[in-house]
Symmetry: C2
Subunit: 431 residues, 2 copies
């Protein structure tokens, strides 16, 4: 075991002990054992405009042992805490999956009528995962800091030397392969860096292409891929590159609502796990593309603008002041490269920007009639900006999307030496 | 670009030129341009008992330009070859996805009646992928050797020094992270090794646990994960470890028909891509578990044996001679850890071992009635051995499965220091 892990283990044990001491003290004082922790619910999730992060609000919940409605959850919380503590003591590295197994068993007791009752501690991993999240907010510690591991997809190459475990690793010497980020990125140290920015690529295959082309060497970039939806470790790693090494972070995804959402997860965090955002999100991450305006220019949007007075709280003139944009693709390239959007792309787009914007900016009454009006489709505040409204309006009216690979098929040179550098140098990204 | 890539590029260009020269020669001789290549169809896929590999049989197909039925395919093949050649000349690293985009366009021509016809070179990636496969068998070259890249999930750590590109990389110095295998593993060199075997773990999270525990250091293992279904690069990498470094390969998967199938892909290859097996499969890979007998022992199987005279061509006495097996799990552990099999698990199991074996070994008439009899469910020859028949009979009669994580939750020590070493040292694996 690395000396880094030994230290992390001791620290996690100390925090666990300290936080649960209150239960013992309550019992000794003859009080009802009760846990008080922040409420992890949507209504207590707040988008903080200033820090540009999703944060937990002030609401707390009480979980008491002497309450029929709460006893089960109380028991689960203590059971999980004790399993994690035991794993720490025994030099284990559990995963959330095996924590589920470790705690899963049947408890037998007699009810008031003397009838024998069997009850499972938990039946599905959903339940035990939720308890782990409760512990994270209760102790203000990420599960990774308790040496709970998970599968990890993120990779990195670039002029960066790190210390991980007891090894010093030069990430510019990975050959044609790459360095697979550790599942506990808070435990690694940045030793030396010679880079100007971080480029995060959604797709592993495009990462492979840019890596092999020598992109990161030529442009002094740290090249990262999340290989799809980013996991926690990749997000934390990117955040640390930004925060500690002061490197700007640019995110490159497919041009579709899913790509936009991946950018949003890096930047803001995911709604369901807002409590992690404070540590995992990179609020000043920038979206360099592929944007809808890169594909179509802004002509489609100008047409809509003539029909609407305002969109998402912005007046027509405010939206009209957006910088003009020319497409990177010719008419015939567009014809060969774009893909028709699916119903779930449309739904995801409505989720991002809000039903009201979608409804107003869609020209075709046929498409508009297909929108599903649901409660709460108010859009995410960080997507209700002029730039993003333009992007999504173009999407709604073309119902097309484009993969990064299509840009690469204009020539890897085009992607690496024209598209990406031009976008970055020209400040042609969306915040 | 690494010197390794420069060399690979030249070689691929040479082979492409040579193979397609015949077309020019045919035209010069006034013959019909025709491509002759091995048939990539199931009926021409042969399981070679001696080499234990799926190989293409002797059937060939002719693809002629002057034939209405073949002209389209002929055109596609030449189009793809020319795009790949161009990418090689231009120092590109295409992916199969962007090769699809590069070739996708509309061809316009007038038919015999003078009517203008528009026809797409291809509409879906399925089509262009199939053409790439044709080129692989036509030229007897893997696409990776033509510097066609892809996403890559495989990871490795251990006492192994490799040269990849122009870098020498010590895979025992990866800290808590890992080395992400390159998508072109034929281009890497093994420089130095100090290991006794290769352990391939299906699940990335379990790989992380064993890595962190120091398993590979303690047991002198090269630790690899395929992170689910293995991709081509991981399979080729494992094969090279086995073939060139003479290291035995052990595969550790979940105890379910999907896990068994993952082992089979490493060992034999996938049915649809049999032509790659010669290069990608590791015919002497061994399945160390988790086996059904590790979970349940062989009691369930003994019970069935009393009712059947033979299964899959083996007599009762031949099957009865299998070594007795005790389970690694107690009754109560089993109760907490096993998961109910789903309908698709059952279907996959029938696919592996054949309908006849499934029907005969299932005791419950209710379960038997749920089996879907389909044409061609004759099972894979390499699963119709006494050991595998026992495994699958236990599955069919318990309809339970078990994840590796359940073994880890008995303690990572148990998995790392008892289960795996015992299975390997006791030769308790299935061939």
């Amino acid at each position: 075991m690395s000396s880094v892990d030994v230290k992390a283990r001791k620290n996690a044990m100390r925090v666990l002990k300290e936080r649960f001491k209150t239960i013992i003290e309550q019992i000794q004082r003859g009080e009802k054992p009760t846990l008080i922790m922040p409420k992890r619910v949507l209504s207590n999730t707040i988008y903080d405009e200033k820090s540009k992060m999703l944060l937990l609000g002030p609401d707390v919940l009480k979980r008491s042992f002497i309450d029929v409605n709460e006893a089960r959850k109380f028991m689960q919380t203590l059971l999980m805490a004790s399993i994690i503590y035991e794993a720490l003591v025994n030099n284990e590295y559990p995963t959330i999956r095996d924590l589920f197994y470790r705690g899963k068993h049947s408890i037998s007791y007699r009810d008031v009528d003397g009838k024998l009752i069997h009850e499972n501690t938990w039946d599905e991993q959903k339940e035990s995962d939720s308890v782990i999240r409760d512990l994270e907010v209760f102790m203000n510690v990420l599960r990774e800091e308790m040496l709970i591991l998970s599968k990890e997809k993120g990779k990195v190459v670039g002029n960066l030397v790190i210390k991980s475990g007891d090894d010093v690793i030069d990430l510019s010497k990975m050959g044609h392969g790459a360095y697979s980020i550790e599942p506990t990125p808070d435990l690694l140290e940045f030793r030396d860096v010679d880079a100007e920015y971080v480029l995060v690529v959604e797709k592993d295959a495009v990462f492979q292409q840019l890596h092999r082309y020598g992109f990161w060497r030529k442009y002094k970039a740290i090249l990262v891929t999340s290989a799809g939806q980013p996991d926690r470790a990749t997000r934390r790693f990117v955040r640390r590159l930004n925060e500690e090494l002061k490197l700007p972070v640019y995110v490159l995804t497919d041009s579709d609502p899913y790509g936009f959402y991946i950018y949003s997860v890096f930047k803001i965090g995911s709604i369901t796990l807002s409590y992690e955002s404070e540590r995992l999100a990179t609020p000043n991450a920038r979206f360099i593309g592929v944007s809808m305006t890169d594909v179509f220019g802004d002509g489609v949007f100008q047409k809509i603008l003539n029909n609407v007075r305002e969109l998402g709280g912005f007046t027509k003139s405010a939206l009209g002041r957006l910088k003009k944009k020319k497409p990177y693709l010719s008419e015939s390239e567009r014809k060969n490269y774009v893909i028709k959007a699916k119903q779930r792309d449309i739904e995801r787009a409505v989720e991002l920007v809000g039903y009201d914007v979608a409804e107003k900016c869609i020209e075709s009454s046929e498409v508009r009639s297909k929108l599903k009006k649901k409660e709460g489709l108010t859009g995410y505040p960080w997507f209700r900006t002029p730039e993003w409204i333009r992007e999504l309006c173009i999407f709604f009216n073309t119902l097309n999307k484009l993969e990064i690979e299509a840009m690469a098929s204009k020539g890897l040179k085009f992607l690496a030496d024209t598209y990406i550098p031009e976008k970055i140098e020209g400040n042609d990204w969306i915040d």
